[in-house]
Symmetry: C3
Subunit: 271 residues, 3 copies
């Protein structure tokens, strides 16, 4: 009975955003990352498009709740590394555009007023993992795993993970992910507070969607005001963290550390 | 050997606060919510009386530690919903009085200088659950359960739970309680950090009280100063959170969301 | 293959700091608390020496990562209580010197820019336990245990534990340690977030060191900048907490509570 099988509203908004599919199921809006053949990576344009999709969701009076999920086996493999290699301009121009789009993308999640729920249907890497810390609940299949290999790629935390991960799991656990590239299972992520609940993969879609659908019928004002109260002291901090992280990534993306790591990655994968 | 059986000080302060029973066991002061036939709900007056009881405890030089518990099967069913229906004045007057009393009640816990321990002898709902986040330790019987059905009642978080719950359990877990009305067991609450330790119901009274009694013999200055240090940056924030939450509830209590939900509750319970 | 067995750099810096042994293994710098016959306690001078060792590590361009461990069965028994009894001057002079040295010691950890990892080879008491909350990762043998008996000794939290412990484990769990002297096992500490991972004692040295060694080969800039980002809002708070805690200890160390507790400790141990 998940949205994959159910009769979704035929009046579902048609998205012009390539790489996403948007649908409505009652008052629940589902944003699906939809490039399964490439493991749902984020291109530079997709950062902006996602921000626009959230803006639409915020403004639509018929939307109470937003769920973000992926098509196929992956939730998302994260930042599309060809963003670095296929850019037509200079390295510094690529870094500048990357920074600008990332900041807008992350701000759209920080400022989104309605509850947003991650429905993590498979592995979540890099930016697809870090954004979970900005959501309001995260449900994951036990087939999923989570990794943010920042230092392995000569980079540094993004999507406010340098703030949300220590807050969720405590600094001594968070640093294994943030500093030391640790890969964790969905069950581990749940113990650490990065996932709200884990489901067996066979039942994932059938158990998660009815629950979320039911919540979308709750009084929207109570949901929005409750989220607002719980974020009231964090929003300002999150914006500062996003700024600082983006500034640092601008430097990192132009560093030798990063270039060497990315070249190593592609040479390894091309063998 | 719990206070229910032990020979308590015959000089125990006699409380004029209807709905509470106060007793001393050495330097341990026990505040018992005492309306077991109604599941220990909080009437409007009880909010003010509880604040006064804490004031007495703070001023009494013979009191080192305060424990809060309930008589009977429930810790407390939370806010007495007849507060809304039996009030003689207008809805807005009822809401104003509710807000005023709630703010004083919550402030009394924020500002209480000595350690206060929740001895949760059964289910803790709504305000009886949220206040646990303001205590210094919480011991629960495994028969207890915990729920804050704010959005189901068209309401929003109180007793600083919009701040303490995410801090205790991480935002991704807290929102299931704060936004989505999740009911959790004592064991789950313990994993989430809302309960310090869970005991088998059969041994609950006999194991918890001697432990707390022993702690009431520790040097009071070390206890008070240690609590002060660990609260030094939170106290100001907690007051702001309390103000914002009370302001929001004033609006919520007068909203259609809330009235519909409460009418539904009473019509369901009267069938 | 731990540093105890491996061929460490023969150019290892020779420490003039009595009570410590410093060695290099590639880019990993190991600071070993080295008074095993006395369970590795901290004398007044060792607080200053440790701060100097961290300064050396920060300045050495060949050091990427620092590990702190103990020689023998204990990580460290904490503050050497003879600091109080063997001091030649007055009680207030001893308290003043204790405060000065403690503040410098704790500040050196707050401000250390590279990752520092606790390799907890046995019990960690008092200051040896509280400093773990200022580290970036903590690995412990399952033979270890942890205790901060502040109120039992008439004292109060130090090394920012009044801030880091509630942040790591939630206030309702932290207070059992901070207020009520609870002793916990390594496995419990790991569940509470005070330890990153626990290892069987038989495999502890052989499993922990290769992992840390590998991390010391990661790009130092990514490590340092990532740590900086995750600490950016905490550093200022941590300094304020350290100041307030030291000020309080200055009072506590001169209090009757503390003197009675310490006399009781020595008379018990001398029987």
């Amino acid at each position: 009975v998940g949205p994959e099988n159910s009769a979704e509203s035929s009046a579902a908004p048609k998205s012009a955003a390539v790489g996403f599919e948007v649908s409505m199921d009652g008052k629940l809006r589902i944003i699906r990352i939809n490039k399964p053949e490439k493991k749902n990576p984020f291109t530079l344009k997709m950062y902006l498009d996602f921000a626009q999709l959230l803006k639409d969701a915020a403004e639509d009076q018929n939307t109470t709740l937003v769920a973000v999920t992926g098509t196929g086996d992956y939730f998302s493999s994260g930042n599309d590394l060809t963003n670095f290699t296929s850019f037509s301009g200079s390295v510094s121009e690529a870094a500048e555009e990357g920074k600008r789009n990332l900041k807008i993308f992350v701000n759209s999640l920080i400022d989104f007023p309605k509850p947003v729920i991650g429905v993590v249907n498979g592995p979540a890497l890099g930016i697809a993992c870090t954004i979970l810390g900005l959501m309001d609940a995260v449900y994951a299949t036990d087939r999923g795993w989570f990794q943010t290999p920042f230092s392995a790629l000569g980079q540094s935390p993004e999507a406010c993970s340098s703030y949300t991960f220590p807050k969720l799991m405590g600094s001594l656990k968070a640093n294994e992910m943030l500093l030391f590239n640790k890969k964790i299972t969905a069950v581990e992520a749940c113990k650490l507070g990065l996932v709200t609940e884990v489901f067996q993969d066979a039942n994932f879609q059938s158990e998660v969607w009815p629950k979320i659908k039911e919540w979308s019928e709750l009084p929207i004002n109570s949901l929005v005001y409750s989220k607002q109260l719980s974020r009231q002291f964090d929003t300002e901090i999150l914006h500062k963290v996003n700024d600082a992280e983006c500034e640092r990534l601008l430097e990192r993306w132009q560093s030798e550390d990063c270039m060497e790591a990315i070249m190593k990655f592609f040479s390894k994968n091309s063998k």
